[in-house]
């Protein structure tokens, strides 16, 4: 087995795409400017040169129709990876995703499967303004029939993309574009990270920080700061939002008796509320404090450099929140 090499998150996903397209001719890519242009974030660079226009399909700017075509292709033997350029534009494919893709296997009694991946980049931090900065992953977690993954590391991104492509149902794959240049070790060989498996990213005993996507980095930074205050924080990354690995989250909270949930999407009716409620239901008798949560401020993500960063919880705020829980001040 070859040694892992440090790769950027972007390159790790790309490596999965190359691998899956080489091993399975039915894997096709569809999206805007993903062909010769290589993607607006260079996230599909090189694929067009190797696989050509038949498998790396540049679509017009017609997200709804193009995604619907991907659904029809998935019903009839292809495994499309459909790219929605910005996570905000997921709203444009919602009918095809929610009323068609998510329900077809169920409604048809399993006669048709819809093996497709909808891939999109989310996250604040690039001053892109209210229509290019949202993290709307919670919307899709509400729909039975869709799996939703949100990898936080390059290695997880490669393995989860491979798993998503091989899955026989629709999978939404959320990448945070601020992670694209993050580098860490990625195994060179072919592997999958199973959908539905959380991972403990740092072991600890006093409090559990449940963090998703880019917030895992925030949580790891907070865990460092907490360590300097003699507080041992465990960081758990669900990696998959649907189906949620409840057992791993609950086991951690039963061990630490406290938890903060942190996510980059909106707080109102969001991921943090769902996870906090689930953990509380399963670990109520073990809890020494209420499960609390941090998330994006419930405002359209503002453009200005002074305002945009304020919408996301940072490591220091998470540290204060966690320390207060551990010291019984909450």
């Amino acid at each position: 087995m070859a040694d892992p090499r440090p790769l950027s998150y972007r390159t790790a996903v790309l490596e999965a795409l190359f691998g899956e397209m080489r091993r399975d001719d039915s894997v096709i890519l569809m999206g805007e400017d993903i062909g010769a242009a290589g993607g607006v974030f260079k996230q599909t660079e090189g694929l067009f040169a190797e696989f050509g226009a038949e498998r790396v399909i540049d679509t017009p700017i017609s997200e709804s129709g193009a995604f619907g075509i991907a659904v029809g292709a998935a019903m009839t033997g292809q495994r499309p990876v459909f790219e929605v350029m910005f996570g905000d534009f997921i709203t444009l494919v919602m009918d095809q995703l929610v009323n068609q893709a998510a329900k077809i296997s169920y409604m048809s009694g399993g006669q048709f499967k819809v093996p497709l991946v909808v891939r999109t980049a989310v996250g604040v931090g690039s001053n892109l303004g209210p229509q290019h900065s949202q993290s709307l992953h919670a919307w899709l977690t509400h729909i039975p029939g869709l799996k939703v993954v949100m990898p936080s590391t390059p290695a997880d991104a490669k393995g989860l993309m491979a798993a998503a492509i091989r899955d026989d149902g629709p999978v939404a794959f959320f990448e945070d574009r601020m992670l694209y240049n993050v580098r860490s070790d990625v195994p060179e060989e072919d592997y999958v990270v199973p959908i539905g498996a959380a991972e403990v990213k740092r072991a600890g005993k006093d409090i559990t920080l449940i963090a998703t996507g880019r917030m895992v980095q925030t949580a790891l930074a907070a865990a460092e700061l907490l360590a300097s205050e003699e507080i041992s924080a465990e960081v758990v990354d669900p990696r998959t939002l649907v189906p949620l690995d409840v057992a791993t989250l609950v086991d951690s909270v039963k061990k630490t008796s406290r938890a903060v949930v942190v996510d980059g999407g909106y707080r109102q009716y969001g991921i943090t509320g769902e996870i906090a409620a689930t953990v509380t239901e399963h670990a109520f008798d073990w809890l020494d404090a209420p499960v609390t949560r941090l998330a994006a401020a419930d405002v359209p993500i503002p453009f200005s450099k002074t305002l945009e960063p304020l919408t996301l919880p940072g490591a220091e705020r998470l540290t204060r929140e966690a320390a207060a829980l551990v010291r019984g001040k909450k």
Binding site: G72, N99, S108, G110
Partner: protein, 333 residues
């Protein structure tokens, strides 16, 4: 029993269709008409829950197009889709069972009339979203093009879908990618309760296809032979890689938008005039004139179909309803 019209073909002179082909078309249209009659009665009697949209009057479109397709060709249907399902080969018993919400139905009773899928016969489903099947057919056409075996796909939609932006997006992509797909509009004059002219701009629906450089044609959708005549070259073009075609088939739905619709928006004289163009009676007359069938042959066929549908209904009625533990399977594919 042997088909009563088989003999007719042997004594035919020089018809444009063989007797056997003509019988198949008539039988297919009659099956849809009889099936819908039973659905209406079952629904009114409470045996079918929910909303049901009948296609009586529109049989020639489904039958004309589907008679030219192979099982490996795909169709995507719409909310008024029982006819498309039957014309593409669906088993009437399983179809009726699904419409009645039974466990032996095509979707295990989960879909109902608006969501009927038949994979073996290449049916990508009836659809509860107006225009929803259009991109599914185009996607199937994209798959077919990749496979390179000359398979094609057809989407059926009503005039209501003429104003869905999705149609324009998909027509554009079908044209630029030369997808082997037929866009078939069943223009029955009404989107739900609203007349087409009240909500549809432009000189003619076919202008929507022509705008994308797609060969587009208006077809008499009450004449199964006219539908076949228009569809045949379109299907050939698609099979040979020459891209999509748009057919606007002018037709009429005898019933309302759904069973129970009082249809106060319809003009009685107009409705009567359309009945005079009835596709089944018209084709039956033509068969008799062409010496392909006698009135007795046709009456016998009708009776035969009636018997088949009765059998389908009794199978469906005898089938169990889904149990609580049938609720969760196949959720994630």
């Amino acid at each position: 029993m042997a088909n009563p019209l088989q003999k007719a073909s042997e004594r035919s002179g020089k018809p444009r269709l063989s007797g056997e082909e003509a019988v198949r078309l008539l039988r297919s249209m009659q099956l849809i008409r009889t099936f819908e009659d039973h659905v209406r009665n079952l629904s009114s009697g409470g045996a079918i829950p929910g909303l049901v949209h009948l296609c009586a009057g529109q049989e020639a479109v489904a039958v004309g197009i589907c008679s030219l397709l192979n099982a490996t060709d795909k169709i995507a249907s719409n909310h008024r889709g029982h006819g498309h399902c039957l014309a593409k080969g669906a088993d009437a018993g399983r179809l009726m069972a699904e419409i009645m919400g039974r466990r032996s139905g095509y979707g295990l009773g989960r879909g109902g009339s608006l969501h009927i899928f038949d994979a073996i016969n290449g049916n990508l489903g009836t659809n509860g979203i107006v225009g929803g099947g259009i991109p599914l057919a185009a996607g199937a056409a994209l798959s077919a093009k990749r496979r390179g075996h000359g398979e094609i796909a057809v989407c059926f939609f009503g005039d209501g879908a003429l104003n869905q932006g999705l149609l324009f997006e998909v027509m554009n992509m079908a044209a630029i990618w030369h997808l082997p797909v037929l866009f078939v509009c069943e223009n029955n004059g009404f989107g739900e309760f609203t007349a087409i002219e009240d909500v549809t701009a432009g000189p003619d629906p076919i202008a929507r296809g022509l705008a994308f450089g797609i060969p587009s044609e208006t077809v008499d959708g009450m004449d199964v032979m006219a539908v076949c005549a228009a569809a045949k070259p379109a299907i050939e073009r698609a099979r040979h890689g020459d891209g999509p075609t748009f057919l606007v088939c002018t037709t009429y739905r005898y019933g309302g938008h759904h069973i129970g619709d009082k249809q106060e928006y319809k003009d009685d004289a107009e409705a009567k005039a359309w009945r005079l163009k009835d596709p089944i009676e018209r084709f039956s007359r033509w068969m008799m004139e062409a010496d392909l069938a006698t009135a007795q042959d046709i009456a016998a066929l009708k009776q035969d179909v009636e018997q088949d549908v009765r059998t389908a209904v009794s199978h469906a009625k005898a089938a169990p309803l889904p149990a609580a533990d049938d609720m969760e399977g196949h959720l994630y594919g």
